[in-house]
Symmetry: C2
Subunit: 219 residues, 2 copies
């Protein structure tokens, strides 16, 4: 009659760590850090809370590792897009921009995730370093792609162009995540391509699968 002890299966360390990290990321994505309690994380990972302490010295450790995993995953996704992209520089840049402005990259959950970590990133020096590294890597990719476009450009100009393009991508991504339903399907991709194209001085809208809008940006 006394409460029966819960049955369990022994799993490999890597599997359990992954499950816990994934659970933590899901919870943060949905409800912020406040929702990612040890009990909730363990529950979602199909495990009892004590196990967390067996794999991570502290909850902050788990959070730190989750952040690193998130960043790694984003960098991977990014690289995957570039691998599948065509060789033509303009088409390549277009594919990169468009990929960032549609699901699964443009997703309210990802925005929630990003927001959920900000304060911790500001406090923790390690996490701040990971953040800076990831951001600068992203920008470096953009710089490469811009440098490959036709026409000569100075290094300083390439830097500024990359920062601007990065801004457009991030900003539109943010808008799309924050107000899904405020835009037509594919609209943000179109707008992003037109804007990035205007900035670098090359028409990118032709490289988009959806039909371009009837009127161009510049009147």
């Amino acid at each position: 009659m006394a409460g029966e002890r819960r049955k369990f299966r022994r799993e490999g360390e890597e599997k359990r760590r992954d499950a816990l990290i994934t659970a933590a990321l899901d919870l943060i994505s949905e409800g912020g850090q406040g929702s990612a309690t040890v009990r909730a994380i363990a529950d979602r990972a199909g495990v009892t809370p004590g196990l967390i302490r067996h794999y991570f010295q502290t909850k902050e450790d788990l959070t730190r590792e989750a952040y690193r995993a998130l960043m790694d995953r984003m960098v991977e996704d990014n690289a995957a897009v570039l691998e599948a992209a065509p060789a033509d520089p303009a088409a390549r840049l277009a594919a990169f921009v468009a990929a960032a402005l549609r699901p699964p990259v443009m997703d309210p959950g990802r925005m929630g995730l990003w927001a959920g970590f900000i304060h911790q990133v500001r406090r923790d020096a390690d996490m701040a370093a990971v953040h800076a590294e990831t951001y600068l890597g992203y920008r470096a990719r953009l710089e490469e792609m811009i440098a490959a476009l036709p026409g000569p450009r100075e290094a300083a100009a390439i830097r500024r162009l990359a920062i601007a393009c990065n801004g457009v991508i991030d900003g539109l991504w943010l808008e799309g995540c924050a107000l899904p339903g405020a835009f037509e399907p594919g609209e943000l991709e179109q707008i992003g391509l037109a804007a990035v194209g205007a900035i670098v001085g090359i028409d990118l809208t032709a490289h988009h699968p959806l039909p371009p809008p009837s009127t161009e940006f510049a009147p």
Copy 2:
């Protein structure tokens, strides 16, 4: 010998509500929702925790009002920039863009504030409505300014241009807030003006107080 009861002054309701809301916003800005406990808020407002319940039925109420206050304040700041701006449409747009990309608008604290509310905004319908209203108002301002620029434009084109410009502003704002120190002073303003100018097809860099960079965006 027993603990002496703390002295206090009676204040007007408005003053106390303001103090509590300001305290809550400061704390959220610094450390996220997790740092804004009733005790911490009361402490920073120079008051004991019980008083919060006297002015707000629940902590969530206080948070909701704080969010509304924040949004109102941002809209006000925005309007103030436009009032002080020159009459020439291009100069006006330039002033608007530049203002968003330097302190006090571009500030890590504001980003923290914004991030701290995201999850609550996603859950709470009232807060979501305030958010949407504020965002669309901001975009409407941009549409007006773009429509006032020389050259004819269709309404649909103006909409797309405004979304793109909004994206540039938000994205560069985000980058500057997230990685202060990664940019030279005034650099993001320059980049923002050049990018927005490229998008709307008008040179805006001339309207900036700082000397424009030696090379233009388009090669």
